[in-house]
Amino acid sequence: MLHLDPGEKIIIEVRKHWFVFFSYGFFLAVAAIAPFILYELYAHLFDFNIPFIGNADTLAGFAYSLWLLAIWISFFVQWTNYYLDVWYITQKRIIDVEQKRLFHREVSSIRFDKIQDITVEVKGLLATFLNFGHVSVQTASEDSQDFSMKSAANPERIRKTVFAQHNLVAERTQPVRIVEKDLNGNV
């Protein structure tokens, strides 16, 4: 559960680019069709037949259904780890939620007035065309950790949003000088 201050709203949610998860999804898609490929290879290369008891088709259908179920749940376990890994950027702070594993979750936050710098790195052909990159937020304090996200989607938008909010917070916290004037306007 994310606890926001009263009046605090989420401006944008930052996640890793979908391409990061695509490679795992592709591997699972290959695993889903692997039984057919392996069976055809086995039948053609070795010319062997496996003697089944009873109705071979229904048994194969049962086994394949369980195989697909295992792949399906594996897909969603990985998707959960991917999708719950997120930065929430509000008007006041950045909240870094890192879902490392199903039962391992880290939540940290940093206020905009503590941010010293933000670095964006887009490296490589795929990253350039698909618009994802490494985003790193440096804090002013030596004790606190810098925030970073690899393969974040639309990193330039993240940088602009953080800078805009940082400037807004800086303007709001500027010191006010009180000047007393007499009735004639003299200080």
Partner: protein, 77 residues
């Protein structure tokens, strides 16, 4: 020589179909436990995100369909 030639002659302590039903039962229990864990994470940390709600629906519909197919094929075996 076919290494699988004598599989059907191996003695089994129980009927083959009972073993399959037992395995299916264990599989269902494990699947339900992992599904409950996933649903817990989506409900607790999902922030009512529409993508998570959609993913939950897809996950349940496809899971139930595949379980239906597995049950039907095992029943006809």
């Amino acid at each position: 020589m076919n290494p699988f030639a004598n599989i059907s002659k191996l003695p089994l302590p129980v009927e083959g179909k009972e073993v399959l039903w037992g395995f299916f039962g264990v599989f269902i229990i494990v699947y339900v436990v992992i599904s409950a864990i996933l649903l817990f994470h989506w409900r607790r940390y999902g922030m009512n995100n529409k993508n998570i709600i959609f993913a939950e629906a897809i996950f349940l519909v496809v899971s139930l369909s595949l379980f239906g197919i597995a049950f039907a094929t095992l029943s006809n075996f």
